[in-house]
Symmetry: C2
Subunit: 694 residues, 2 copies
């Protein structure tokens, strides 16, 4: 234990209220109500835990980096950013009003809550779902927690409160909590074999994340206290370096949970345990293929490439980055950069998706990026965003933000249907409906992706800004208002007006409570090859794509920044080592990767027979049209193309190459944003289109 102040729950409430007053923010009613409610309604035993951070939960961001010595940036709370009507506002409203409630019902219908009730005699149903089913409940709770950080939704809050009550009711006196390793399975608890495949600590990692998000929203510590008991009472006394029993992280996740817990308790044992887990424990001997697959069980700092199960790898990298931000250990930093470069230069789809193999849900070899067979699990793209977010916090480097944006707008956003009720597990970059694959489904027995998408959309406001000791960073663009303060306490509002991602014009009003000198770090997206910045109508030089433009001046209410990032369609090719994309190009406009769906093409055109006809100025030949009635409102792109008329019989698999271009018919090709694919009838889709040079 560190020597920091111990505060009781009552003190915590007082403290939070005090801070709200100090920072002159109107205490949002939901929070105030919730805190009071939590203090009276909880029935969990009183625990005495160090909470180091004042202001407490409600002022913490998606991560609490306020005391992290090796983080350059600090998060702002989700509640400090209001995303208004626009691209993400629409998505987030559906997330909160449809996705999360229907997922709650599906978790119920599929017995996930009965798994808890059964253990206290309130259900006769048999255990249902895989060993990691508890985690889906926790991830759903985390999604609710994030949503409530943006404002109260009494029905969601009531649902979550009930869920939390039913979860904590089954915690054992030892602190252990799991609905699978009970009864006949009890003897298997925390055995090396179970640790390798049983997801006990993975579940608890998600429990901690869910608990913290809910605590930050409401001040309700019930689930958080249960998580602390698991860690402090069950895990720490019994597991760790010899002579304690060994741990192996079969599916990394606990590392992130432990470190975020450390960040609010200040209990360094929790950080140290995460570091121990990240290095593996030789006492649990594992075959190499297993440590590759698990991306754990051997020292993280000896890893040199991304391989094995993609989500495991991403979560391990998240945890390792968190560990670095707390400890500054060079060996971690070196490995993290090696791995991030390996991912972004050899193993990432243009959509930001990662993990190309369905076999093992795994990273492939370098440049192994198949399109039809792409796995690109939604959770892995989310893991990529979460990791890149941590790398950004450690550095302030815009290259990480470019990857966040790429993943968010494309490989993540594609994971949830536009109506918010069906989800992708795989996010392929080409699709053939004749395979019979059903790509969007309301429920998966391994339902990791749906609540993961829900929590990421719930947490999105927390990704818009960061603070730094000398100012503020803006990372993402959408109609929104930041109401927060600089690290020196200066209260600051920042308002964005924009049609992003359909238009690269962003008007930013910077409103400090009083005139103040600070740096406004304005993100110039990597795709924005022509970006102009003006401050109060006057051009501000130095904008470079992929970097933050540091606007250092004395800011006063009424100041305006104008970013004009010219958003023209761009034609991308792939590194020639990506054999799957040879002779093909992809279309991107702003942050959005585009694709062709066959049903948008002229009648009778077969997607496998089309090519895009590219002249010397391919990008000038696009026509764009905002279609408000299509797919929730998208900007459609059209470009000249051709449709081959095959001379050879369609049944010939390997015809002679004739040397002449096959007879072609000109067809206009219509591209839609990739995220919106598969929201109508099943039809062929492709991101990478063959190139016909004219």
């Amino acid at each position: 234990m560190t020597g920091k102040n111990k505060i009781s729950r009552r003190q915590f409430v007082t403290s939070a209220a005090a801070v709200a007053a100090i920072s002159s923010f109107p205490a949002r009613s939901a929070f105030a109500v919730e805190v009071g409610k939590a203090a009276t309604s909880t029935s969990s035993p009183q625990t005495s835990v160090t909470l180091t951070d004042n202001p407490a939960g409600r002022d913490q961001g998606v991560e609490n980096l306020n005391k992290s010595p090796h983080a350059k940036l600090r998060n702002v709370p989700v509640r400090a950013v209001t995303i208004q009507n626009g691209f993400w506002g629409q998505r987030r409203e559906i997330n909160a009003s449809k996705s999360i409630p229907t997922m709650h019902d599906l978790l119920e219908a599929n017995g996930r809550m009965n798994n808890f009730r059964r253990l206290v005699g309130k259900s006769d149903a048999a255990q249902q779902g895989p060993v990691y089913s508890d985690s889906d409940v926790y991830k759903w709770t985390e999604a609710v927690g994030f949503v409530l950080q943006s404002g109260d939704r009494p029905e969601l809050r009531a649902s979550a409160e009930k869920v939390i009550g039913e979860v904590v009711a089954v915690q054992e006196p030892s602190g252990y909590l799991n609905t699978y390793y009970v009864d006949d399975h009890k003897s298997l608890r925390m055995s090396p074999q179970t640790q390798t495949t049983g997801h006990e600590l993975y579940n608890i990692g998600h429990m901690l994340q869910g608990a913290i998000a809910y605590y930050r929203a409401t001040g309700d510590r019930k689930l958080l206290d249960a998580g602390i008991r698991f860690v402090d009472d069950f895990l720490l006394p019994n597991y760790g370096p010899a002579p304690k029993k060994p741990i192996v992280s079969g599916h990394p996740e606990i590392e992130m949970g432990l470190i975020e817990l450390y960040r609010i308790t200040g209990d360094k044992r929790q950080l140290d345990l995460a570091g121990y887990i990240l290095q593996g424990d030789k006492r649990i001997e594992l075959p190499e293929h297993r440590t590759i697959y698990m991306f754990s069980g051997t020292p993280f700092t000896e890893r040199t490439k991304l391989e094995g199960h993609a989500v495991r790898a991403m979560y391990a990298c998240c945890g390792a980055t968190d560990y670095y931000m707390e400890t500054g250990e060079d060996s971690y930093w070196k490995s993290l950069n090696t791995l991030w470069n390996d991912m972004t230069t050899t193993k990432m789809y243009v959509t930001g998706g990662v993990g190309s193999r369905s076999d093992g849900e795994a990273f492939g070899d370098a440049y192994e990026l198949p399109n039809f067979r792409a796995y690109g699990e939604s959770c892995a793209a989310i893991g990529n965003m979460m990791w890149s977010w941590r790398m950004l916090a450690a550095t302030g480097d815009g290259k990480f933000t470019d990857v966040i944006e790429r993943a968010l707008y494309n490989g993540i956003n594609s994971g949830m249907s536009l109506d918010g009720t069906t989800y992708c597990y795989r996010n392929p970059l080409a699709f053939d409906p004749s395979t019979g694959d059903k790509i969007r489904n309301p429920w998966y027995d391994t339902t990791c992706c749906p609540p993961n998408l829900e929590r990421i959309f719930g947490s999105l406001p927390g990704y818009f800004y960061s603070t730094r000791n000398d100012g503020i960073y803006v990372h993402l663009y959408d109609n929104s208002e930041l109401d927060w303060h600089l690290e020196n306490g200066t209260r600051l509002k920042v308002t964005q007006k924009t049609d992003y991602p359909w238009d690269g014009n962003v008007e930013i009003a910077v409103t400090p409570a009083q005139p103040a000198d600070f740096v406004f770090y304005l993100r110039i997206p990597g795709w924005a090859e022509k970006a102009q910045v003006a401050v109060n109508g006057k051009s501000f030089p130095g904008a470079k794509p992929g970097e933050y433009l540091a606007i250092r001046r004395r800011w006063s209410a009424g100041d305006r920044i104008h970013l004009l990032a010219e958003m023209t369609p761009q034609v991308l090719e792939a590194n020639p080592r990506v054999a799957d994309d040879t002779g093909r190009v992809a279309v991107q406009r702003g942050p959005l990767v585009y694709c062709l769906e066959e049903l948008d093409q002229p009648s009778g055109v077969d997607l496998s027979n089309v090519a895009i006809e590219v002249g010397k100025q391919p990008e000038s030949e696009f026509q764009s049209e905002m279609k408000t009635d299509l797919l929730g409102g998208v900007l459609l792109l059209r470009h000249p193309g051709v449709s081959y008329e095959r001379n050879a019989s369609a049944s010939t698999l390997y015809p002679r190459y004739t040397g002449a271009t096959a007879r072609t018919a000109r067809v206009p090709l219509s591209f839609i944003p990739y995220y919106a694919w598969a929201n109508r009838q099943a039809t062929a889709m492709q991101v990478w289109t063959p190139l016909l040079k004219s």
Copy 2:
């Protein structure tokens, strides 16, 4: 039992000798010796079995179709064709003198023979290897059997005799024989679960094939009698349609074995059992994904596409074609053609390999033919050849021979190293050594491919010719001599002189014992777009690629056929639905598919940066050179190409497409035959090369 003559072993010997005399062939000494030896050395119990076919084993081909009512063609015995010095002569000598002996030693070293000895108290070693390990011993025995059909090799024969003695020694009085389902596993025998995954009948299928090949070589019935006892004493009385116990073919193979056994015993119960197995038995309920994977367990005649485990599918199709040739059932013929078309128009590599997914060693979707990640198991290409051979026998249609040749020269031949001691399990069409994959290995714990390659090379002479009621077919070309007879008994020698596959010039001497009218069906390979045929120096019209040219005349000693199949390099493209080959071409010359290996290209050239520069006459720009000192002697092809100089940093995964051709350097590209790849140091390889149109 049918009413055909029962003959004892003694009668069989007599009969074989009699036939040898009747057909005026000099009885080859190996056979004569072996038959006598078998008659005295066997200690297996006397069985009384119907052998319907006179002349017996030694005059039977790789399949005995002599009485198959729905086979248009009949096989000629392996021993009737002597492959002389040339392409296959070299491979076959290495196969017999190195591959098969070293595989024997590896089977020993890896405990496969101790598995048998253990059961009779002659070894204390634990059971070693997977449940299907017995099959590898049987496949090795089959390889020896085929080699001995071409002439005696006393050491091989002695090895095989010892192996066979040790196998038959463990057969149980019930007829059951398996080294895995003993002791603790005995209770699992033939349970539905074991049948699904335990390979008991798969093992016996290979045992029957091995036994029959060895019997045909030597007259030794020891192993064959053991196989007959398994079938007649254990299987037939107890398993089959209700009220007997049900069978499911977890890995098809027994079907082929049973039908070939029927073809020499005439016991129709064996054929009927194969038919029963091919239709599945509803009493064993299986999930759909399992019957897809196994390509069995549901009616074969309801299958409409190739899917699931590729080797299982190929062996099922072989068995079903055999069943069709015996029964003529239309529903089989319809399904077989549907499946064969599905394979050759959507799921076959240009190498004749099949089964593109490593996940499940399975067929992919239509047109799913990745190159780097190609599975293309050697066994599956062999299965393709064996199936296409059966389809050819049923029809006499040259389209099947084209696939046989494609698989044999490429996707099969690649499976064994040139020195005959290492083997491919996978046969990818592109390779990146940085993956660390070791593509050729002397031993696999699942060592199905190595002895499978050995048996196919051993049996090769049997694939050169067939007879038909009106004449003779030649299917394959190499220096060789056929010494056999037409179906009407006319003795016939056919001699080929050629440099095939390096040259499409084949001189064929046709020497009937006396002048005779018959049709010589001369195969015009599918690739031979310009083929000329002359008979006795005079042009013979009508040659069409992919068909047999029927040369109907009165043949006399001294007659000569001259086939000139113009063998120029051909540039192939893939059907546009094969996304992996977009913008790429492959090079084929004669039956050989070519590839690039990086170490043959100019120093510093990176294979992922090259393109082939194709003008209007791409095929006229090849230069060829016979390199006798390279890779056992290969014809090298050179073609102009370019090496890109990348403007973008090599580390950029998705650069902007510039519209301009990247700066390039001209490089001559050197192609080698695909079968010879990976016989030197590990280096990048690709079959499909990007196309740069000039």
